[in-house]
Symmetry: C3
Subunit: 140 residues, 3 copies
């Protein structure tokens, strides 16, 4: 069995933002030499997501608006008890649950086995500081 | 290490619908010869899901109503900017995030290692055309 | 390839509750002897979740309130058709979709490859009876 572990460092200057990371993940798969296996990609922080969807800016705007409706930013400790700890990012912990922590992608013939429009994104919900993404490839 | 890659083609004539695919996945696991490993099942399209829940038609009706409340269909470009691209399926990209892209199931003693009521479903949110599901089994 | 399969039995006396299970999962990884691989942790019941987020009681209170808003408990068969089967737990099947069924975690150098605040939780949405969690570790 072969395996490869790789970390990406993400820098999103806004509170919320999406970063296209398909190419970085594809490079890690190539580097691993795995022909048949699985590739896990996950946020290592609990106010961030990794998800697969469309590389289309209008949709990303829609997601931001929708997530803000489902779990609004509110720094006060009234709406979110989490913010009684001195944090202001309780909303980000909720948004991340909607968008998910991780994706698992099949590796077939040495490549990400993707449908026509699948693209991997890092989803940041409490940015303005460096965060990490983990890529793990295992297989043969 | 053994591995098997299989694709299913789904045909849902409605915009939204759920299809029970546990038997197809179990057949792929049997065909793979894997005794101990993991089985990934994912939608290859970004307006569809694969999820595990109850095989009960009342619940599926409830899911449809709930998803329509959380992310209503609206072809106009006013609610969803994604629909300014000429698409009308922005709602489907949202519904899929709630229900998820994929499931990963343990394979133990050559079979899907399932709880008593677990069943695998394809969730379609923008149907009326063929779409694909990927099954990847790896292990030994 | 090495593999290990382990089940935890959860006892949550309330309808909804979260249980920290990182230590149990870490023990299973150590027991497996896997140095490089993947660890799947999933609820075996369809009204429960396994998720990764913060070990902070205020946030858990926030999650409960939020999930109750997104999918309120309602035993009557009017809101949820699922409850026409004699069940009263349709809300739990919805809450579980928001929080997810499973997590997949990288195993690196024989340990869970975690960011600084990642912790694994069992999420119960229809408790008051024993339920099971599956841990599957594969790798080398």
């Amino acid at each position: 069995m072969k395996s490869l572990t790789k970390h990406l460092t993400m820098h999103v200057p806004e509170r919320m933002g999406f970063v296209h990371i398909t190419h970085e993940v594809a490079d890690a798969v190539a580097e691993s030499g795995v022909q048949e296996g699985l590739c896990l990609v996950n946020a290592m922080h609990i106010t961030a997501s990794v998800f697969i969807n469309d590389n289309e800016s209008g949709l990303h705007r829609d997601y931001k608006k929708w997530l803000e409706e489902l779990a609004p930013f509110d720094a006060s400790p009234d709406r979110y008890h989490h913010n009684r700890t001195g944090e202001d990012n309780a909303d980000a912990h909720h948004k991340r649950q909607i968008m998910g922590r991780e994706v698992v992608v099949a590796v077939t013939d040495g490549r990400l086995d993707f449908g026509p429009w699948e693209a991997i994104f890092y989803g940041e919900f409490d940015g303005r500081r460096p965060k990490r993404v983990l890529i793990k490839v295992i297989g043969e």
